[in-house]
Structure formats: structure tokens, C-alpha cells
């Protein structure tokens, strides 16, 4: 297991960043390839609307 972890970190790392762009930017500045996913919480996280959507969608 130890060996697997080390191998992983030596390979070229491509990342997908979901959410705060700040995290993705930090990785970019270290020369990594980052794809920013445009993700928003469904219904902005509003519980009432989420409840309604669960019934309709």
C-alpha cells in the first residue's frame, strides 16, 4: 500500500476542481493541469425547494 501511494504522487496529476475556484487556482500556480467544473448546489441548497424538486423531478 505504501508503494502504491508513492507511485501515485510521482505520476503526472490531472485534477478536476469542483467548487471554490481558489483551490483550482492554487494548483494551477504550481504548474498542474486543472479543469474547473462549473458546479452549483441544486436550488442553492434551499431545503424547501429541494423538497419540492424531489417530488417533481
Amino acid at each position: 500500500m505504501d508503494t502504491d501511494d508513492k507511485r501515485l504522487l510521482r505520476q503526472e496529476i490531472k485534477t478536476v476542481n469542483i467548487g471554490l475556484e481558489l483551490f483550482g487556482e492554487a494548483l494551477r500556480q504550481q504548474g498542474l493541469q486543472v479543469v474547473q467544473v462549473d458546479w452549483r448546489a441544486p436550488a442553492d441548497g434551499d431545503p424547501e425547494l429541494l423538497d419540492i424538486l424531489a417530488q417533481l423531478l
Partner: protein, 419 residues
């Protein structure tokens, strides 16, 4: 899937099928009093939703006063206001009379309207004839002697000539013009120059053969030759005509109208009938035509013209009209991304309207209120910027407010879901 979800899916599909099956044909041009259902001599219509006189924005108020003067119902502004406040002038929305109106949407008895018939279902819809490209026009709430004289010319000289041409043509298939125009850089709301040019070209051979006085013909041709936005008003009537048969489908969550009056923004949903779900209208983000104008001078978003976005034109297909992006300093990439995003909130695509910049994929159609609320993707409307008082001062874009869709969603679940 629950029964409710299945019913919604089926209803939405039927809604979109009805919209797509529509065959809007421009058949006539007449004074509003002759064709608009419920129109009376002392009535003035404006863009939706309904709003009391006291709450109206400047362009609507000034526009209605202008219409009263134009119709000769009053001789001065004070007289006009007096009549209005007394209730002697009936004020209603275009939408309540099978019509739509661009800008303040001011429509009164003598004003000519285009008549579009949806041949598939037989219903008709109306929109005021393009008034003028001037910044100071009644459409934007501006009325003075010059505007009045021009409105008289439109009603007495231009409209009869236009009518004769359309009659000679045997009607004009609106969809076929729109299908070409969206391949020529028009999104058919803020940009209709291709549609207007194609219409001009198609009309001319017939106009020449119709029985009109030469002097009138020359004036009409001169006007049309300069009218870049002429076709917007035809597109709007056609959009209204294809949406009408898609209303009142039980269980449908598809938007059948969007409109704003400079104070409120409203939407209608097929499964919820004629009810408007409103929220405060938003600011329009864009460019001002003169350097002395800025956001401080602007009214909020107004007009029935977002009936175009409702059928999947305008701001929903910015990818086809990068020229319109210039108003908000956007790029083609922005425009494409926006259009691709709107697929996520729409039920289907319209294969008859293909976008070259998206390798000929169809336009998105059938805005689903569930998806809007879930994704947070709000329809973009390409639109003009009106002055707080009267007159057009810029152009740009606005988003439909999310509160409208949330309100509609709550009403929907209240009506259709088990407790």
C-alpha cells in the same frame, strides 16, 4: 418514477410538441380596434404584467399619456392624466388581449398591428407594427408632436401599403424567415437586421404589384429600407401565436410567457394557466448610446419582447449572434457557453432553427421551471435600456429573476402534489 413525475414529463413533451407544431403566418395588418379582441376606443394596452397606474414606471406612464393624446381623447397632458385617474381610460396588458408589445408596448385603438395566424391551431396573435428606429418614440414612452405625426403616418399611409403587400403575397411564413435569419447573425430580439432584410426582399415584388398610390409606395419603401428592427414585431406576434396553444396543459412546468413592465417581471406556466408569477424587474447590463447616459438614468427591464426568449430565441441563442455580445463586452466563447447551458433548462431543441456556430444543432425550446430552480441557470434576455422617464438610451442583457420561477414552483406543487 412517480405518477406525478411521469405526468409532468408527458405534459412537458406535449407542450413542446405544440409549440414546435405551430405554423405562424403573417396574414394581415389592421388598426387595433378592428382586430384585437376586447379593444375599445378608450383603451390603452401596455407590456405585462398588470400594474396600477400609481406604480407604473416613467416610460409606461408617459407612453399611456401619449396614446391618449394621439387618439385625440385629450388635448393636453393634464387632461389625459385626469381622464386616466378618473378611470375614463381603460388600461390593460397586451397579453390579456392576445397581443404583445415591444418596449412599453403602448397599443391603442388606431394603431396598426400585425396579425399572425398559427395555421396549425387557428389562433391569432397581434403586435404593434414597428414604429421607428428613433430613440424618442412612443414605444419607449416618448410622445411629442413629431412622434404623433409619425404615428398618424404609420396608421394612415404606411399600414395600408403594408397590408396590400402582405395580401398580395398571400401571407408570409414567419418561421422560414426566422430559420434563415438565425443563420445570418440574428438572435431575433436585439438583432433582426437579417430578418428585416430578407422580409424586404421577399415583399418588394408583391408590393410593386399591389394597388397602392405611388407616393405612398415610395414613402413606405423608404421607411422599410431603413428599418433594421422591423421584423422583431412580427417575430413577437409569431412567438405569441405559437405559445398560445401550449397553454393550460395540466401538469406542464413549461414557461408560456415572460414579460416585464419596468417594475415587475412576470412569468406564466402552462400547467398554471393565466396566473402571473412576479418579482421585481432587474437592471439591464449593457452599453449606453451616449456618454452622458449611465445606469443612473435607466429604467428597469421592460417589455413583452422576451416572448422571443420564451420560444428559444434572443438571449437563449446568443451563440448565433456574437455582434450582440458587444453590448456586454462578451466573447463568442461566452455566448456559446450561455447557449449550451440553456439546454440544461429546456425540454427539447427545435430542429427547424439550426445554429451554424453550434454545428447546426437546434435552438433550445421549452423552459422548464423545475430545471431553472434546480440548476440556478436563469434565462438571459437580450434587450434595450430605457430611460427612467422616456426614450431608449442603450442596449444589453438582463437575467429573469429566480423568484418568479420559485413562486411558480411552489404554486405548482400546491396544485398538483399530494399533501
Amino acid at each position: 418514477m412517480s405518477d406525478l413525475k411521469a405526468s409532468i414529463a408527458a405534459a412537458n413533451q406535449e407542450t413542446v410538441d405544440r409549440i414546435l407544431a405551430g405554423q405562424p403566418v403573417w396574414v394581415d395588418v389592421r388598426p387595433a380596434i378592428e382586430v384585437v379582441p376586447g379593444m375599445t376606443r378608450n383603451m390603452v394596452l401596455h407590456s405585462s404584467p398588470r400594474i396600477e397606474w400609481g406604480r407604473m414606471c416613467g416610460p409606461h406612464r408617459n407612453g399611456i399619456i401619449g396614446a391618449v393624446l394621439f387618439e385625440g381623447l385629450a388635448q393636453t397632458r393634464d387632461e389625459a392624466i385626469h381622464l386616466i385617474e378618473n378611470g375614463d381610460i381603460l388600461i390593460d396588458t397586451c397579453h390579456n388581449h392576445d397581443s404583445v408589445g415591444a418596449g412599453a408596448g403602448i397599443t391603442s385603438a388606431s394603431m396598426p398591428v400585425v396579425v399572425v395566424e398559427n395555421k396549425t391551431y387557428g389562433n391569432r396573435a397581434y403586435c404593434d407594427v414597428f414604429e421607428s428606429g428613433a430613440l424618442q418614440s412612443l414605444k419607449w414612452g416618448w410622445y411629442d408632436e413629431k412622434v404623433g405625426a409619425h404615428l398618424h403616418w404609420l396608421a394612415e399611409v404606411f399600414a395600408p401599403v403594408l397590408r396590400a403587400g402582405i395580401e398580395c403575397m398571400g401571407g408570409l411564413d414567419v418561421k422560414s424567415i426566422v430559420a434563415k435569419a438565425v443563420q445570418m447573425g440574428d438572435e431575433c430580439h436585439n438583432r433582426s437586421i437579417a430578418a428585416s432584410s430578407l422580409f424586404f426582399k421577399d415583399l418588394m415584388p408583391y408590393l410593386l404589384r399591389s394597388q397602392v398610390k405611388e407616393a405612398d409606395l415610395l414613402q413606405a419603401v423608404d421607411f422599410l429600407a431603413k428599418a433594421d428592427h422591423f421584423f422583431l414585431h412580427v417575430t413577437m406576434a409569431a412567438a405569441k401565436a405559437v405559445l398560445e396553444p401550449a397553454k393550460d396543459i395540466p401538469y406542464s412546468t413549461v414557461v408560456t410567457a415572460m414579460a416585464r413592465n419596468g417594475v415587475d417581471f412576470g412569468i406564466q406556466v402552462s400547467g398554471l394557466g393565466n396566473e402571473w408569477f412576479t418579482a421585481p424587474a432587474g437592471k439591464v447590463d449593457g452599453l449606453y448610446f451616449r456618454s452622458e447616459w449611465g445606469p443612473g438614468d435607466a429604467a428597469l427591464d421592460l417589455g413583452d419582447s422576451c416572448i422571443t426568449e420564451t420560444v428559444g430565441l434572443g438571449g437563449l441563442i446568443q451563440a448565433t449572434a456574437p455582434t450582440v455580445q458587444q453590448y456586454v463586452q462578451g466573447t463568442l466563447a461566452d455566448a456559446i457557453r450561455n447557449t449550451v447551458e440553456f439546454r440544461e433548462i429546456c425540454v427539447s431543441t427545435n430542429r427547424e432553427l439550426q445554429l451554424p456556430n453550434l454545428d447546426f444543432e437546434g435552438t433550445p425550446v421549452g423552459i422548464d421551471i423545475r430545471k431553472v430552480v434546480q440548476t440556478g441557470i436563469l434565462p438571459i434576455l437580450d434587450t434595450g435600456i430605457t430611460s427612467k422617464e422616456a426614450g431608449l438610451i442603450g442596449a444589453g442583457q438582463a437575467r429573469a429573476p429566480k423568484e418568479c420561477f420559485e413562486k411558480a414552483l411552489r404554486a405548482f406543487v400546491a396544485r398538483y402534489a399530494q399533501a
